[in-house]
C-alpha cells in the first residue's frame, strides 16, 4: 500500500522564486493531482491541480459558488463574513448569477472597452509624465500601477476618484489574508455605506456611468435594492483595481528580470503584445489562492469521487503550469500560445472585467517600456516585499529608477 501523505495546510508558502507557485503545489500536480488539504477553518476540501480537472470542475453545473452552503471552503474568515453579508453574483448560482451579471455585461463588452483605449492611453501618459517629473527612485505601485486601474474603474463606474484614499484603504483590508472577520466586515460595511449613498445620488443626478445605469434601471424599477447595487459595486470597485494594479507591478518585475522578454514586448507588434499579456497572466496568475466551490451532489472529477457537501478548490495558479497544456511551463515566453490560461478563472464565473484588464495591460506594458527604456529596479529583487499575505498576489512596493 502506498504510504498516506499527511494532509497539508493550504495555501502553502511560495518557494525561492517569487513568480512560481509553491513547490508543494508543483509536486502535487505531478504526483498527487487531487488531494485533501486543510484550510484556515480546519475543514479539508479537495484540491484540484491539473488544468483539465480545473476546467472540468469550474464548468460543472453540480457545483455551487454560494459561500453560505455548508462545506463551502471560504478563502479567509474575512472573505467568508463579507461575502455572506453582502451578496453579489460572484457568490450566486444560476439562474440568479446570470440575471445579475447580465445587468453589467453591456458595460464590459469588448467593443465598449476597446472604445476606452484612447482614454486609457491618456491616463497612462499623464501618470508617466508626473512620475518622470518627480524624484528618483519612485515607487511604481503608488505612482503608476495603482492609479491607472483605479482611475479607469472610477470613471467607468462613476465613483469620484478624489475618494481613492478611502476605498484603497478599505480594499486593502478586504483582500488581506490576515484581516479578521470583524476587520473585514467593518471595511466592507464602510464601503457599502459609501457606495449605497452614491447609488442614491445617481438616482437623482445620473451621468454616463455604470452606477447611474444601475440606479436609473434595476434600482428605480425595484428589480434591485440599493444595498444589492452597492454590493455589486463593491465587487466591481475592488476587483477592478486590485487585480490589474498587481498585474502591472508584478508583470513589470517579471519583465525586468527577463530582459529579452521585455525587449520583445517593447518592440513587438500589437499581436505579440496581446499575446504577451496572456502569457504574463498565465505565468503570474495573481489570483493565487484557488477558486472555491462546494459539491451539490455526489460526482466525479479527475477520477476522484466527491461527496455532496464537500468543499472543492481549483488551484488555477499551478493549473497554469501544467506541462500537458503549456510546454516548459515555468518559462516566461511571450511568444507562446497562452490564451487558454485559467488566470481569469473558468466557467460562468470567469472574470467579467477581462476585456478591460486586457486593454489596460496592453496599453501599460507597451507604453511604460517605450517611454522609459532605461527603467530598472532600484532595489534587489530579493528585497522586494511580495504579497504573500494577500488573496491577490503582487508586490507591496516597487522602487524603480531610470
Amino acid at each position: 500500500m502506498p504510504e498516506a501523505r499527511p494532509v497539508e495546510h493550504f495555501p502553502m508558502s511560495r518557494g525561492r522564486c517569487p513568480f512560481d507557485p509553491p513547490p508543494e503545489l508543483d509536486r502535487k500536480l505531478r504526483d498527487e493531482p487531487v488531494s485533501r488539504v486543510r484550510i484556515w477553518d480546519g475543514s479539508e476540501p479537495w484540491l484540484f491541480t491539473r488544468y483539465e480537472d480545473v476546467r472540468a470542475l469550474l464548468t460543472d453545473p453540480r457545483v455551487s459558488a454560494d459561500p453560505d452552503r455548508a462545506g463551502y471552503p471560504s478563502q479567509t474568515p474575512g472573505v467568508k463574513a463579507r461575502r455572506s453579508r453582502f451578496k453579489s453574483f460572484i457568490g450566486m448560482d444560476e439562474p440568479e448569477h446570470s440575471a445579475q451579471r447580465r445587468l453589467l455585461t453591456g458595460d464590459f463588452m469588448v467593443k465598449k472597452i476597446q472604445a476606452m483605449r484612447p482614454r486609457i492611453q491618456q491616463i497612462v501618459d499623464e501618470l508617466l509624465d508626473e512620475m518622470l517629473a518627480g524624484p528618483k527612485p519612485a515607487d511604481l505601485v503608488q505612482a503608476f500601477a495603482l492609479p491607472v486601474p483605479s482611475l479607469v474603474i472610477c470613471e467607468l463606474l462613476g465613483v469620484p476618484y478624489d475618494d481613492r484614499d478611502f476605498f484603497h484603504r478599505c480594499s486593502k483590508v478586504l483582500v488581506s489574508r490576515e484581516a479578521t472577520a470583524e476587520e473585514s466586515l467593518a471595511a466592507a460595511e464602510e464601503l457599502q455605506g459609501y457606495l449605497g449613498r452614491l447609488v442614491k445620488k445617481k438616482l437623482d443626478d445620473p451621468a454616463d456611468d455604470v452606477f447611474s445605469r444601475l440606479a436609473t434601471g434595476p434600482v428605480a424599477t425595484g428589480a434591485m435594492t440599493v444595498e444589492e447595487a452597492a454590493a455589486m459595486g463593491q465587487l466591481l470597485l475592488v476587483a477592478g483595481h486590485e487585480t490589474t494594479a498587481n498585474m502591472i507591478a508584478l508583470g513589470t518585475v517579471a519583465l525586468l528580470e527577463n530582459p529579452d522578454q521585455l525587449a520583445a514586448v517593447r518592440d513587438g507588434d500589437d499581436a505579440l503584445l496581446a499575446n504577451a499579456v496572456e502569457e504574463l497572466l498565465r505565468y503570474l496568475t495573481i489570483v493565487h489562492s484557488g477558486r472555491r466551490r462546494v459539491a451539490l451532489e455526489d460526482l466525479e472529477i479527475g477520477g476522484q469521487t466527491v461527496r455532496k457537501g464537500e468543499g472543492l478548490v481549483a488551484a488555477t495558479d499551478v493549473a497554469n503550469r501544467d506541462e500537458t497544456q503549456f510546454p516548459e511551463p515555468d518559462k516566461l515566453d511571450v511568444t507562446r500560445k497562452a490564451r487558454h490560461h485559467v488566470a481569469f478563472g473558468y466557467g460562468v464565473h470567469q472574470c467579467l472585467g477581462q476585456p478591460l484588464a486586457r486593454v489596460e495591460l496592453q496599453v501599460v506594458y507597451r507604453t511604460l517600456y517605450r517611454r522609459i527604456p532605461t527603467l530598472r529596479l532600484a532595489a534587489p529583487v530579493e528585497e522586494l516585499k511580495f504579497k504573500h499575505d494577500m488573496v491577490v498576489y503582487g508586490v507591496h512596493e516597487l522602487p524603480v529608477t531610470w
Partner: protein, 64 residues
C-alpha cells in the same frame, strides 16, 4: 462547419469576439453573443474552434 451558440448560457466574457471577430459579435445592449456566420468559410474554422474552446460558459458548439 456549422456553429451553434446558446445565448441563454452566455455570460458575456467576450473571448469569442477577441479570437473570431468575423464569426461572433456581442449584442449592443447587453454584450450577449451574436452569431455572424453560421457556416464560416474554411479560413475561419481554426478561430471558431478556438472560440468554442475558450468560451467559459460552454455556449458555443462547432461541428465539422
Amino acid at each position: 462547419m456549422k456553429v451553434v451558440v446558446d445565448q441563454s448560457r452566455c455570460v458575456g466574457a467576450g473571448q469569442c469576439v477577441l479570437v473570431a471577430p468575423e464569426v461572433f459579435d456581442q449584442r449592443d445592449e447587453d454584450g450577449i453573443v451574436v452569431l455572424l456566420r453560421e457556416n464560416p468559410p474554411a479560413e475561419l474554422h481554426a478561430q471558431a474552434k478556438e472560440a468554442a474552446q475558450l468560451c467559459p460558459a460552454l455556449a458555443i458548439e462547432v461541428d465539422g
